[in-house]
């Protein structure tokens, strides 16, 4: 029962950090984009404009909420709710640190909300249903541009999910190779543990590349933001949304960025593992220091990728729609498949030659 209590506390902490983190990702994006365009960015509210997110939220809260009279009201209401909920629940299986402490007993030693044995599939499943928020928003607005945005979103999601899934499969294969062919290693925690010594980005660079690009596409971020291409579709799927409902979509987008960054970190950059852990003997440290060490590295890597999301958006121009589809089906799917086969062959050889005696 204590395990449930610890999980509840962790859930509250994670939700708070996600929402605050999303607000400050907006601040980061505005600052970085300003720097890249030789501007200053928000600098009026608080030091360095640090209180700007609070001011923005207040502004959005007190704006008038307009629902178009031709809109399908129930769906129009529920679409932003779906978008935010689905974005928030992904972090339930992400491990933040590994340490033997009372509150990690119920989860196999990982600081994680739920240590589910199909964890990584859960992440893929949640990602795959995140498209409903955008699609339903587009349809329920009963207006041409949002509908086009919603259509683009569903097509884009399905196209890039395949390549993404195959990249994840290659990671799972590597995890199982590390644990010498035993089975049942689909938990993100085991995937991180398998990267002790060699992070997956070095072992599986092609998979890393494919996964990062697909994560950009699934988060509907530039250069894949055709869903809300301003020049073509006014505002895309959220054209007919205002006030807090619009803010929820905005929030969902930035939570997706954070969640995408945590997934890249967990799958390819060793999650909570720091560099040279064996050399400096982290395992002998006191438990609280290990937790801080793990959380620290996890945060550093995640923040770096949040920055990368921003960096790419203000650097690359948007793809055309046909280029987007060609890219997904004719480039990334074959690359991901070939990479999977190479990894599978490598894993088979590894098991045959190094752990075949067992």
């Amino acid at each position: 029962m204590a395990y449930v209590g610890y999980s509840l506390i962790l859930i509250l902490l994670v939700l708070a950090f996600l929402i605050l983190g999303a607000a400050y990702s907006v601040w980061l994006e505005r600052k970085v984009s300003a720097r890249m365009q030789q501007r200053k960015g928000p600098n009026r509210v608080g030091p360095f404009g640090l209180l700007q997110p609070l001011a923005d939220v207040l502004k959005l809260l007190i704006k008038e909420d307009i629902v178009p009279s031709a809109a399908d009201k129930p769906t129009h209401f529920i679409a932003p709710v779906i978008a935010v909920t689905v974005a928030l629940i992904t972090l339930a299986v992400t491990p933040f640190a590994k340490v033997a402490m009372p509150f990690t007993e119920g989860t196999g030693g990982w600081l994680v909300i739920a240590n589910v044995n199909i964890g990584i599939l859960y992440v893929l499943a949640v990602t795959s249903i995140s498209v409903y928020g955008v699609t339903l928003a587009g349809w329920s607005s009963n207006s041409k541009y949002p509908l086009l945005g919603g259509l683009r979103s569903s097509a884009q999601m399905i196209s890039y999910e395949l390549a993404m899934g195959l990249a994840v499969v290659s990671v799972v294969l590597l995890t199982n190779a590390r644990f010498s062919g035993e089975s049942g290693y689909l938990t993100p925690g085991a995937i991180v543990e398998a990267q002790r010594g060699a992070w997956n980005i070095f072992v599986n660079p092609i998979g890393f590349f494919v996964f990062v690009v697909c994560a950009f596409a699934e988060a509907n971020r530039a250069p894949f933001d055709l869903v809300e291409a301003e020049q073509e579709l006014v505002g895309g799927f959220h054209t007919e949304y205002s006030s807090m409902k619009f803010a929820l979509f905005f929030l969902a987008e930035y939570i997706h960025i954070i969640v995408g960054s945590t997934m890249i970190t967990t799958l390819f950059l060793g999650g909570y593992l720091g560099p040279f852990e064996g050399l400096i003997g982290v395992a002998a440290w006191p438990a609280w220091a290990q937790v801080l060490w793990g959380l620290g590295w996890f945060s550093v890597k995640t923040v770096f990728f949040v920055f990368t999301f921003v960096w790419v958006r203000w650097t690359l121009p948007r793809f055309k729609y046909n280029q987007l589809m060609d890219f997904g089906w004719k480039r990334f799917l074959p690359i991901s498949l070939a990479n999977l086969m190479i990894i599978a062959a490598g894993v088979a050889l590894y098991i045959a030659y190094f752990s075949g005696q067992a």
Partner: protein, 168 residues
């Protein structure tokens, strides 16, 4: 106790979703009801400790197939059906067959329950990744491969039907 409450919750939700699918005139609402049904069935799988089946149910059906359904409904911009079609002989026969099937199912389930057998879930960990993968790659390898060939044939068929005859 919790399991029983969850069972009833998911069963009622699932049946409500199925009924909603059939009776909703609006195609989008019908599709959404089906998604509710998929999620309830995933919930039932979870309560049977078949996590893999539950996640695949959501990943494949709710996450991929229904997204395509919604895509097509939105692309064709289907409108709400005005009136239900007439009840003719074809529907009457379909109704009879449906009734017979339902009776058969109820009979089978009743006999199963009266024998007091333990549910399948208690006997195997059949819903986990390893047992499914192992049986697909060993005892059911041939049917598995056959299904993929059948799906490929269906795919090629769809392309042949849809494609414009520009050069033949």
């Amino acid at each position: 106790m919790v399991e029983i409450i969850l069972f009833w919750l998911f069963s009622i939700l699932g049946i409500a979703g199925a009924v909603g699918l059939i009776f909703n005139r609006n195609p989008i609402y019908a599709a959404l009801s089906l998604i509710i049904n998929f999620f309830s069935i995933a919930g039932l799988y979870l309560s049977l400790r078949a996590e893999f089946l539950a996640v695949i149910q959501i990943l494949v059906y709710a996450g991929a197939i229904m997204v395509l359904f919604l895509f097509v409904i939105m692309l064709l911009n289907l409108q709400t059906e005005e009136k239900a079609e007439k009840f003719d002989a074809k529907r009457g026969i379909a109704f009879l067959f449906g009734l017979a099937f339902a009776a058969e199912m109820i009979y089978a389930l009743r006999s199963f329950a009266s024998e007091g057998q333990t549910p399948l879930a208690a006997q195997f960990d059949y819903g986990q990744v390893e047992p499914i993968g192992r049986s697909l790659m060993t005892s059911f390898l041939f049917p598995f491969e056959m299904i993929s060939v059948v799906l490929l044939a269906a795919l090629i068929g769809a392309i042949v039907v849809a494609r414009k005859h520009t050069y033949t």
